[in-house]
Symmetry: C2
Subunit: 400 residues, 2 copies
Amino acid sequence: MDRVAVIAASMTDFGQRDGWLRDLLAEAGSACIDGGPVSPSEIEHLYVSNMAGGEFEGQGGIANLVAHDLSLLPAYTARIDQTSASGGAGVYAAWQSVASGAADMTLLIGGEKMTHRTTGEATDVIASLTHPVEYKHGVTLPSFAGLTARQYLHQYDAPRESLAHVAVKNHRNGVDNPHAQFQKTVDIETVLESPLVADPLRLYDFCPITDGAAALLLCPESVATSYTDSYATITGIGGATDTHVVHERPDPTVMNGVVSAAQQAYEMADISPDSIDMAELHDMFTILEFLQAEDLGFFEKGEAWKAAMNDITARDGDLPVNTSGGLKSKGHPLGASGVAQVYELYQQLCGTAGKRQINAQTGLACNVGGFGNCVTTTILEGRQWLMNQGSLLLDMRAER
Amino acid sequence: MDRVAVIAASMTDFGQRDGWLRDLLAEAGSACIDGGPVSPSEIEHLYVSNMAGGEFEGQGGIANLVAHDLSLLPAYTARIDQTSASGGAGVYAAWQSVASGAADMTLLIGGEKMTHRTTGEATDVIASLTHPVEYKHGVTLPSFAGLTARQYLHQYDAPRESLAHVAVKNHRNGVDNPHAQFQKTVDIETVLESPLVADPLRLYDFCPITDGAAALLLCPESVATSYTDSYATITGIGGATDTHVVHERPDPTVMNGVVSAAQQAYEMADISPDSIDMAELHDMFTILEFLQAEDLGFFEKGEAWKAAMNDITARDGDLPVNTSGGLKSKGHPLGASGVAQVYELYQQLCGTAGKRQINAQTGLACNVGGFGNCVTTTILEGRQWLMNQGSLLLDMRAER
C-alpha cells in the first residue's frame, strides 16, 4: 500500500492570542498552504482537531466555518475530538482519509482558544473529560499528576529534582522555538521554589494555558514526490485507550494506552524503540515525560528519571525529547498539541528546524488525552528521498 | 480493495429519555454487540458521533467514557462532530478506519441527549453552528427553512400542501417503527393548522428535539462472511460542504453539498440515481426532503413536490423515502440521526424491517449538517450474498 506523507506543516505563535478559534485555525491553515505547490482546490478533506470550542467560546460547526474561511469548498470536513489528544486523533483521521483512498490531499488543522477564560474555567472544562465519579470528588488532571508523581518518586527511588530537570530541559529547548509561548530558560531552583500546585508538583511542573493552532498537509507518498523533494512519511501510527477511571489502574505509573498505541505504531513501521532518533512527548506535567519515555520502550521502567538527570533526553543527548520545548514551554492549546508535535518532527526530519536542528531520520510523537485515558502515537521518517537522491548522485558521479 | 460491510446495527428508543448521553450510547452499543458473533475484545476502533455533549450536559471525553462502559479497552476511540451530520461523518470515519486497514472491526455509536434542556436552549446550541455573522442577526436553522420554503414554493409553483404531504407520509411510516418518537399519524389539516413557526412552515413541518442513540458494526466484507450471512455493504460514500454563510448561495433551493457528496458516492458505487431503491433523507424540516430528493438526482429540480403529492415517495411508491419515519417522526438526536439512517437501510436490505419492510437491494442515506453546510452520503447494497447463495442453490438443483 502507498504510504502517507506529510508534505507541508505550520504552526501559529502559541501563547495569549487575540481573535477567535476560527482566526487561529485559518492562520495555521493559510501558513500551511499559501505559497506552497498545492492549491486550495486540490484539498479534498479538511479535519479540524479541537476539544472544546463550543464550551470555550460557543462556536459550533468550526470545521465548516474554517473550510469557508480558507475557501476550501466543497472539501469534506469534520471535527475530531479526543480531549487533549485531539491533535493526534486528527493525525490518525487524516492518515486514514488518505490511506483509505477517500482523499488524495487532506489538510489537518488543530487548535484551541483558551486564554480568554479564567484558569479555573479552563481547568473545569478540561476536568469534564474525567470519569463522572472522579469528577464529582473534585479530581482534576493536575491532582492526578501530583498523586502519580508522588507514587513514581517513591516506587523508583527518584529525587524530586529529577522532575525539575524535565522543565529545565524543555524550557531550554523552547528558547530556540520562535513559536513557543515561553522563550526563556528556568533553573532547577526556580522550579523547586515555584508555588505548590499538587504536591509534590509545583507551578513549573505544569504546562500553561495556551491559544494556538498547527496544521499538516497529507497525501499519498506517490503524490508527494510530484509536489516536493522535502517531506516526511508516516511509517507507523496507532491509538489506544486506558481505564477511564484512573484509580482502577493497578500501577498508576504505567500508562497502558501508551504501551498499546506504541506497539501498534512500532509494528506498522516494523522498527523497535531503539530506532527512534527523537521524540515529542506529551509533557502536560513533567511526570508524564517519564511515564511515556518508559512506556514507549525508550528506557526500562523507573529509569527515565536517570536519563533526564544525565541529559540523555537533552537536545544534544542520545535521545532528544521535546526539542520543540514540549507542551511545558511551547504551550498546550489542547486540539493543536498533537498536530504541533508532528510539525516539530516534520521540521527536524526535513532539516528546517533552525536553531533547534538535530540530526534525526526517525521521530515519534506521543499525544495523550486525559491522564493517559486515550493515546495516539505517530512515527515519521524523513529525508529518505533526499538521501536516495544523494546516493543516486554519488552513483552517477562514480559512473562518470 | 476489500469493501466495507455493516454486520450489525441497533438503535435505542428515540424520544424523551432518562439518564445521560453515556447511558444512551452504551445502550445502543450493547444492543449492537450483545448476543452477536463479535466479542467486545475484537473491536479495535470505537467512534462516537456527537455534536454537543459538552454544551448540553458538560461531559467531555465521551468516546473514552463509552469505551470504558462497554469494556472495549484498549480500543482506540475518537469523537466525531459534524453538527447535525455528525452521524454521517461517523459512518465516513468508521468506513475509513476499516478501508485504510487501521481496524478490522469498528464500532460506531452516534447519540445526543437534548430534552433536559429547554427548546430555546437546544435551538441556541444548534444555532451556534451557523456563521457568526448570520448568528448575530438572530438567524436559526428554522428561520433558514422558512425562507427557503417560501422561495421553493414561489420558484416552482408548488402548493403549500405539498410540504404537508412530507409530514403526513413520514408520520405514517413512523407508526410502524417501534423506536420512533412519534408513532401516530397526522393528517394534512393538522399540519396546516398547527402553530406557525417560520412562515410558511408550521410546527408539524419540523422534527422534534430528541434523545437517542444508534450503532453500527463495520468490518471488511471478507471478514463479514465469517461472522454472518446477513449484512449490507457500503458501496459508495462521500462528503462535501456548501457555503457556511447561507445567504451567499446563488439559489437557496439548491444544496451544492448534497450534489457533490452524492456525485462521489454514485461514482464510487458505479451507479446512477435510478438504481437507488429507497432513501433515508434528512427531513429536519419538510422542505429539506424536497431539496435533497432533487439534488440527489431522484427528481428534476422543482419536481419533488409533485412526487410527494403523487405518493411516489410513499412506502409503496416507486422510490420510498424515509420508511423509518424520518427525522420528522422518528426524532432527531443530532449525533444519532446519520447512524440511524444507515440502521434503517441495514434493516431493510437485510429483510428485518418488520412491518416497514419493503423490497429493496440498494439504499441511500443523506445526512445534512447546518442548512446543507456539510453533507455525507452513503450507499448500501444488501442481500447480495444471500441472493448469490440462492442462485447457487438453484444452480445446484439444476445440475442434479
